[in-house]
Symmetry: C2
Subunit: 259 residues, 2 copies
């Protein structure tokens, strides 16, 4: 039987609020078995950019990663956020090790090809080095991934944290029975976006199609659920979407997705 | 017989100059056997501080690490410099992994006690976790350390890179026959500080005492050589001081120190 592995993505909003941040790290540290954390950087990168007078260029609501913006992402995600998460988890008894996709050559990507828009130094994932991550887990370490990859030729690349979490979960599924957790500010996928308590407890391929058809899943949830089913179709055993309380495996409601 | 290990500290000046930086990483990547790199951050941290309007407080020529200054060190050393070194080494075929002392709980320190001066969030090393580093080396990874430690209670601390290199070399000497390399801008310890070519090829405890007595070692070299002999007295096999050319093991002159 395969060993279990949990891949937990925590959203930027959770990182903004110091109390919520401590809380989610506490829940993460108590989770049993093999685990991997993936974090974004929240608004800290934008704040630092503003202080330095570097304006984010946006096209169609998406940020362009020019070299200065990448440096800021590397400083904030790969430095400030990563190292502070690691120090706090060590204090909680979790033997964390902060990683970008360049470290141990764990995630190779290529610069997104220019079509209508040049997104700049943004990476689309080519390959996750599951063996390197396996070795770290076997050695007793808990990898903490930030949203950075590399192209194998010396260039770091900005990569969406949800995507990194999905790709890690997929790659590790050959060796492990993997559950992917997307933690964000809501309790789960909501039937009625206005009603926090209308959590849909279970979504499978059939209900997913129905929810799409009826327009119940829209806006920000669309790419998130796309990632969930992309992971499920590539051998991830289960995906859970909800707020950080779902990590303590207690009776809180959240959304579970299976094929 | 013990396996060999090289611990290489590269100075901030080498990081400033892009060409020199690429060169030293090329030499490092070609070194055979187990190896660990330790890097400072050069002037980039001061530059970022200036841009953000955060002035370094200095007392007796030494920087005070207030919380804002620590954040900058974490962003620059632990983020920007570390991740770019790792990406470049990966491109050169070295399976690098960027570390602070918090990562894998490798270096624990305590905040320097307040005597005449409160240096702020500066750490004095308590314990290097040689077993964690051994596991990384055995797994085929090359650890790249920045000059940050942690106190085990969630606080990151700024720590001198020369000291970190010495402490790492000492801790690893139980398992490995360890050589410690201090790379800086000069060719080695100079007989005449005005003459770049007056490299003293070998220093042992006896000649060290003589050089001290005659005032030949002074200023910046004093703490550096103090670190060297501290390492040698704690079972490090050999210490080498010189510019980066000494890493290609060719016939360039540099200073070798033994007990």
């Amino acid at each position: 039987m395969k060993q279990k592995l949990s891949v937990i993505k925590i959203g930027g909003n959770l990182i903004e609020d110091p109390k919520g941040f401590e809380h989610v790290l506490g829940l993460f540290s108590k989770m049993e078995g093999n685990k991997i954390l993936v974090h974004g950087g929240g608004k800290k990168a934008t704040e630092l950019g503003n202080k330095l007078g570097i304006e984010s260029q946006m096209v169609n609501g998406r940020r362009i990663t020019d070299p200065e913006t990448l440096d800021i992402a590397v400083m904030v995600y790969g430095g400030l956020v990563s190292k502070n998460i690691v120090a706090k988890l060590q204090a909680l008894g979790t033997d964390a090790i902060g990683m970008s996709g360049a470290d141990a050559n764990t995630i190779q990507a290529h610069k997104r090809p220019i079509k209508k828009v040049d997104f700049g130094l943004v990476g689309d994932v080519d390959k996750v080095n599951a063996y390197a991550i396996f070795k770290l887990l076997q050695a007793g370490f808990t990898p903490i991934f930030c949203a950075l990859t590399h192209d194998g030729r010396g260039q770091l690349l900005n990569t969406n944290a949800d995507t990194i979490a999905a790709e890690l979960a997929i790659a590790m599924s050959e060796q492990f029975e993997t559950t992917l957790y997307y933690c964000f500010e809501k309790k789960g996928v909501l039937q009625d976006v206005e009603d926090e308590n209308s959590v849909i407890k279970h979504i499978d391929s059939k209900t997913y199609d129905e929810l799409l058809a009826y327009g119940i899943i829209a806006d920000g949830m669309l790419p998130k659920l796309h990632n969930c089913f992309y992971a499920l179709r590539n051998h991830v055993a289960k995906v859970c979407v909800g707020n950080s309380e779902m990590l303590d495996q207690s009776n809180v409601e959240y959304t579970t997705l299976t094929l």
